[in-house]
């Protein structure tokens, strides 16, 4: 439902004001280069404080530590944090997709042991999907799990696992049945893996921006208890697809560069017509993307399927983010250097220009997303 600015939405306005006050208190003077890390900025203390405010897993049932708030309220918290580049990386993946996956398919025991710790901001998750031979073609995974007398044994190598180096848990997608060439999407299952389990080793991969958000996670005959199986055996593909819809529609898909656009406005030369014009274009893009993204939230909230709309948000969102870096760099005559003395825009550009190529890769490449969209409209 579309809200108006009347009394019925005053609780939302209050929530937004609370989040802004919290941000003002916690993040004043926060470094621009760290803001540019957006939802990959990892700060357990910040996540714990957010958890204490009740702003992690806030839509989840009370019995698992949640507050049973609406998805629209959660959206407000998320977007306000992203708009300033707050370090939400220590809980982001867990809150966005791991927790909701557990809620949907987890056992009572799994939910009781894991969800309250996510809510408290104390449990960081990473996503064990991609492998060296299975990037966009996820069904090509080779990691295998087989049953033992008292549980499972898992062997394989996960690659490009964002945040594994600082995470506590990983949800691993593994083959539990041999590949059937006719039904490649069958025979996969998901497992809940504590990253301190013997046999798990994590090798950081330095990226072109000098960071090590990426990792290789080696699972060398890792013994898992029987209750590590998450959801139904063989239903891994369907579970993963539902997860990806959550991964693609959120405000993090178009707000990574918002600290940059905000700083650009603050430091703007008002007499430069081209800069003023770009500011207007960026605003038009932002309100459009927000509208599309909030439509997806409303669809999820009403129990409607919206995977294609989510793919559209992500594809258009990445385009907006990448063009913001391009345009602002040129409009401000940026020479590629940054130092503390130069102000916010060069500092943000320095960090974001190096990560921008990944915006249309992470969470599904531009080409994969467009394939999904085209197949849906042609159906």
């Amino acid at each position: 439902m579309h809200g108006t600015r009347d009394g019925s939405t005053c609780n939302l306005t209050e929530l937004r004001a609370d989040v802004r006050a919290f941000i003002a208190a916690e993040l004043s003077g926060y470094d621009d280069r760290r803001r540019a890390e957006s939802w990959q900025g990892f700060d357990r203390d910040f996540s714990r404080k957010l958890g204490a405010k009740g702003w992690i897993g806030m839509t989840w049932p009370v019995e698992y530590g949640g507050r049973e708030k609406s998805l629209q309220e959660r959206y407000i918290v998320q977007e306000e944090l992203l708009a300033v580049g707050a370090p939400v990386g220590a809980h982001w993946v867990a809150e966005r997709q791991s927790g909701p996956l557990l809620l949907r398919v987890g056992t009572e025991q799994q939910k009781k042991s894991v969800l309250p710790r996510i809510v408290a901001g104390e449990l960081a998750f990473c996503i064990g999907m991609s492998e060296s031979e299975a990037g966009s073609d996820l069904a090509a995974i080779r990691t295998r799990a087989h049953r033992t007398e008292d549980g499972w044994r898992v062997t394989g190598r996960k690659l490009w696992t964002t945040g594994a180096g600082s995470a506590d848990m990983m949800i691993v997608l593994a083959r539990t049945a041999p590949v059937d060439p006719e039904k490649r999407h069958h025979g996969m299952s998901q497992f809940l893996v504590d990253l301190t389990t013997p046999g798990v080793s994590i090798n950081p991969i330095r990226d072109m921006a000098g960071a090590s958000h990426f990792n290789e996670v080696v699972l060398d005959d890792v013994a898992l208890p029987a209750d590590a199986l998450l959801g139904a055996e063989g239903a891994g593909w369907q579970q993963v697809m539902a997860e990806l819809a959550l991964e693609r529609s959120g405000p993090e898909r178009f707000l990574s560069c918002l600290p940059l656009v905000s700083a650009f406005r603050d430091e703007l030369d008002r007499d430069d017509a081209a800069s003023v014009e770009y500011l207007g274009r960026a605003f038009a893009d932002l309100v459009t993307l927000r509208e599309l993204s909030r439509d997806v939230t409303d669809a999820f909230s009403a129990g409607r399927e919206a995977a294609v709309d989510a793919a559209i948000v992500k594809d258009l969102g990445a385009g907006f983010e990448q063009s913001a870096v391009e345009r602002i760099a040129d409009l401000t005559h940026w020479d590629g250097t940054a130092s503390d003395a130069q102000g916010s825009v060069p500092a943000l550009l320095g960090a974001l220009s190096l990560t921008a190529p990944s915006f249309s890769l992470r969470g599904g490449t531009r080409e994969i997303l467009r394939g999904i969209i085209a197949k849906a409209v042609a159906a």
Partner: protein, 337 residues
């Protein structure tokens, strides 16, 4: 969109199918009460309802003057000017003399045969804006070439007498420019969606290299971009319609014009690439929507004009979070259903 909006959109689509001639469509729409939705509903209908009607026009019969008539009906109703007769709309601001006569030149779209009036804003000697309702026979006409299939006319007034002249609230801007812009954003949203429908249909049936075009990844990528632009244009034009008449109308209409202009550009390119030569023929319907969008995206203020309007407003705001705060405020909060 509201339930009434869905109903109005369905009726409009049906009338457009039954009346391929624009004049006949206008007559049928008038009989169905669609040309004067605001004045005839005594304030019951709002833009959130009427938005679907205008989008349906853009998707079914790409004529402009019916949409301008509807926008004119809104302005007339809002400012207490008689809405009777046929209304045309211009985005140009005319000049008003101390004696109450109007001069200057204005461009508008025309499809009515018979008497019609032009609604225009006119700036007085004191700089204040007034709304003028001018009989079209009070000016000299020049027929203009334009891509869209309905006529574009330039009218020149030299000390013309308006039939009605009313004060406009200060600081509210030119209501004809804003309402004409809103309907153009909505029309484009409809037309890009029609372009997608035609493209998908064509790519599913047309075979090359032994298989439907849709099986080719290069085509799929274009179709997906087109579909994304359909979503973007519908979202931003719908947002502007919902808030039309509020204090945030100007910035949202501006955002809708900027974003739908780009949607039109991308959609025209993708649809024609996917269609190949057939899309360029007069026989095949795609060109009607392409040509209409070529006019709609440029008249009543260019993309650049509207982007600068927004940019100037934003640049003048105080506070470090002003860009974000403004984007949040104008769209309003959304309550859980």
């Amino acid at each position: 969109m509201s339930d009434i909006g869905d109903m109005l959109a369905e009726t409009t689509a049906r009338l457009a199918r039954e009346n391929t001639d624009a004049t006949a469509l206008a007559r049928a729409a008038d009989e169905a009460g669609l040309l004067r939705p605001f004045s005839q509903s005594a304030g019951e209908l709002v833009w959130d309802d009427v938005a679907g009607l205008v989008q349906a026009l853009g998707a079914n019969s790409p004529v402009t003057f019916i949409a301008d008539q509807i926008a004119g009906d809104f302005i007339a109703t809002q400012h207490g000017v008689p809405g009777s007769g046929q209304l045309c709309l211009t985005g140009q601001t005319l000049s008003l003399s101390a004696a109450g006569t109007i001069s200057g030149s204005a461009r508008y779209s025309c499809g009515f045969d018979g008497d019609a009036h032009l609604l225009a804003a006119a700036s007085g000697p004191d700089g204040r804006l007034k709304l003028a309702r001018l009989p079209l026979d009070q000016g000299k006409h020049v027929q203009l070439d334009a891509p869209a299939e309905d006529r574009r006319v330039e009218i020149n007034f030299d000390a013309a007498r308006p039939s009605h002249l009313v004060d406009l609230p200060p600081e509210a801007g030119n209501p004809c420019l804003l309402a004409g812009s809103l309907v153009r954003a909505l029309l484009i949203a409809g037309a890009v969606s029609k372009s997608l429908d035609l493209t998908v249909e064509h790519c599913k049936t047309r075979k090359q290299f032994g298989r439907p075009l849709m099986a080719l990844q290069a085509i799929q990528q274009q179709v997906a971009q087109l579909a994304s632009e359909v979503a973007a244009a519908a979202a931003v034009s719908g947002l502007a319609a919902r808030h039309f008449g509020t204090a945030d109308a100007a910035v949202l209409v501006a955002a809708a014009r900027v974003r739908t202009a780009r949607a039109a550009s991308i959609a025209i390119d993708a649809a024609h690439q996917c269609h190949g030569a057939i899309g360029f023929t007069e026989e095949y319907p795609l060109h009607r929507f392409t040509r209409a969008m070529m006019s709609w995206r440029r008249e009543f203020g260019s993309e650049r004009f509207w982007a600068q309007e927004i940019g100037r407003t934003l640049a003048s705001l105080e506070g470090r979070a002003a860009f974000w705060e403004r984007a949040v405020v104008v769209a309003g909060e959304r309550q859980a259903a």
